[in-house]
């Protein structure tokens, strides 16, 4: 006869559940090497196109660096939309969501695990893009403001993945339309966030409106901190951008927590937690 097992509760359970949900992303997603082609080499093609356009127009060399940083941050944005916002819907379709709900852990642990695992994955892809971009286009980055850069990255990622956690709950209720919603969010965000050009060139008001997306402020601040001519092309001073990112962190994380609870209550009332079996 098998002995009864002791089970962790409270924060210990939260940590175990978070690490467990991180695991498939960190280990599983890197098990198939095809990501190198799809998530590094293919994005480098569009990056190359922008660099060639800038060079043919004899644009300032700083813009080439802007493109490389934008390409790297694009890996995070794609990850947030495809692997965070979309995820709970797909977890529902595979049957995992029902198992998550009936387990004693907090669903926030699942979302946090997804986010941390996604961040790790996207970071490897972003780093690969930066290295390939730097080698191909002879781009140099400054590390003079390293502590500030780390703080900016932490705030940007927290706000970005907080937004992904919020969308995950919202998109769960939209069902199959999520795929279209995610697709719809791609190009406009690339434009509004200034993925391949200084967001300042959109004008102050458009850029300010686009700052609702954490990518906009985060990308601008990272460019100012890593590119020699970055501050001259920046939207506003970095401390103000960090303040804005801090505000977005608070908004997105608290909204994600509220929306997750609301979604769970609604889905249990309406019977929407299990896969759409015909």
């Amino acid at each position: 006869m098998l002995p009864r097992l002791s089970k962790a509760t409270g924060w210990q359970l939260f940590v175990r559940a978070t690490l467990a949900r991180m695991y498939p992303r960190v280990i599983g997603a890197n098990r198939e090497r095809t990501w190198v082609f799809f998530e590094v080499l293919l994005p480098c093609l569009s990056l190359t196109a922008y660099v060639l356009v800038y060079r043919s127009l004899h644009a300032p060399p700083a813009l080439v660096s802007f493109v490389v940083v934008g390409g790297a941050m694009g890996a995070f944005w794609a990850n947030v939309m495809w692997a965070m916002a979309n995820q709970l819907y797909w977890e529902k379709e595979t049957g995992n969501l029902a198992l998550y709900i009936i387990a004693p852990m907090s669903m926030m642990a699942v979302l946090l695990g997804m986010a941390l695992g996604g961040m790790f994955n996207a970071a490897t892809r972003a780093l690969a893009i930066v290295v390939v971009g730097a080698l191909l286009f002879d781009v140099r980055f400054s590390t003079a403001h390293l502590p500030m850069l780390v703080l900016t990255c932490v705030l940007t990622m927290t706000a970005l993945y907080g937004m992904g956690m919020l969308f995950a709950s919202l998109f769960l209720l939209f069902g199959r339309e999520t795929w279209h919603l995610v697709n719809l969010a791609q190009e406009p965000v690339h434009l509004c966030a200034g993925m391949y050009f200084p967001v300042k060139s959109l004008g102050v008001w458009v850029a300010a409106a686009a700052s609702v997306i954490p990518l906009t402020l985060g990308l601008d601040a990272i460019r100012q901190l890593t590119i020699a001519d970055g501050p001259t092309l920046g939207l506003m001073a970095v401390p103000w951008e960090l303040l804005g990112l801090g505000f977005l962190v608070a908004i997105f994380l608290s909204s994600a927590r509220f929306m997750l609870r609301h979604m769970e209550r609604l889905a249990i009332a309406e019977g929407r937690l299990t896969q759409s079996r015909s």
Binding site: R16, A17, Y23, A98
Partner: protein
């Protein structure tokens, strides 16, 4: 007495999201209606019914995935709607044909991950995985990626996942759905062994396989159209028909309406028609053995040729026919698969 599972006047109604005035109440679907159950600890309880009978809805409510529209349900002593956080550490669930876990992870990694969701330590989880996969004969597949598993092996992994967390109450929703005979036998053996190991463990099993319910369950509830029609041990349910005579008549292919003709014969309690490969079978529940003479005369008048006549002991299928008036496969509109 504290029951492992208890429901009182439990009901669930599905309403369309945007109810149109034209459709009115017709669009409202009653999935469960006034279900009352009491399952003592240690019982292996079966819910038997065709697809759409309400079995899965009941399981969803008991596993906190769905709120009841009326009545209440308690699992392990806690109300599923008001205290789900107390119910969840004590239960687990396995559904037939589920594709849970992540394909790129190995069997061990998937199982470890689900163990962590219940707060088990890695050492306990790994020890438990090793023991349980051995019972279902898949120790050699521990390091296989789960997308490489066959349907049967995948379901065995799901079964192990369901029992890994050492639950007090396990809900198995069609656990042998789509499995071959050998895999089904392994899964049934595993369930029986798990129950035998600890008298405090409870299993609720839904199935539409009569033989599975008969073979495994201490008690069986027959459910159809959201209503509980009968609830007793398989032998007691079959005893209800002991005074009846049960015959099977095999004929060349005949029109399904023949069962209607036969049911008009005095003394025929129920008649059901089943098509086979190049033949048809009429299943008859008669009030007395001598009624078969009248039935045969009726068939002769309809020019139906007799191929084989068999008298047999009642089965749960007969109980279902007696309660519902049709065979389960007829209710589902599909041929029986096991």
């Amino acid at each position: 007495m504290q029951f492992a599972v208890e429901t009182e006047h439990l009901g669930r109604v599905y309403r369309p999201k945007r109810a149109s005035k034209d459709r009115g109440d017709a669009a409202v679907r009653v999935a469960l209606d006034d279900v009352n159950l009491q399952l003592p600890r240690g019982e292996l309880f079966g819910l038997l019914g065709p697809n759409g009978a309400g079995k899965t809805t009941l399981i969803k409510i008991l596993t906190t995935l769905l709120s009841p529209s009326t009545g209440s349900a308690r699992v392990a002593g806690y109300d599923v709607a008001r205290e789900p956080e107390r119910v969840r550490p004590r239960i687990n669930m396995v559904s037939g044909g589920e594709a849970s876990g992540y394909g790129l992870l190995t069997v061990r990694e998937n199982l470890w991950m689900f163990g962590q969701f219940y707060g088990l330590s890695s050492a306990d989880t790994n020890g438990r995985i090793t023991e349980l996969v051995d019972v279902v004969n898949m120790s050699d597949r521990l390091n296989t990626k789960s997308y490489e598993l066959s349907t049967g092996l995948r379901q065995k992994m799901n079964i192990v996942r369901g029992y890994l967390s050492d639950p007090d109450v396990v809900f198995l929703d069609e656990p042998t759905l789509g499995l071959d005979v050998a895999a089904s036998r392994d899964v049934r053996g595993f369930i029986r062994r798990w129950m035998d190991e600890d008298p405090g463990r409870t299993t609720v099993l839904t199935t539409h396989y009569m033989a599975e319910a008969d073979d495994l369950c201490d008690r069986v509830a027959i459910i159809n159209g959201g209503r509980l029609l009968a609830c007793d041990s398989p032998s007691a349910l079959k005893r209800r028909l002991r005074q009846d005579a049960i015959f099977e008549i095999e004929t060349p292919p005949i029109d399904a309406t023949m069962a209607g003709h036969v049911s008009l014969v005095a003394g025929v309690r129920k008649a059901a028609h089943r098509d086979g490969d190049g033949f048809a079978t009429l299943e008859l529940i008669l009030e007395a053995e001598h009624v078969i003479g009248e039935v045969l005369a009726c068939l002769q008048r309809q020019n139906v040729q007799l191929v084989k006549l068999t008298k047999r002991e009642p089965t749960l299928e007969d109980v279902f026919v007696d309660l519902v008036g049709r065979r389960m496969a007829e209710v589902e509109g599909v041929a029986p698969s096991q």
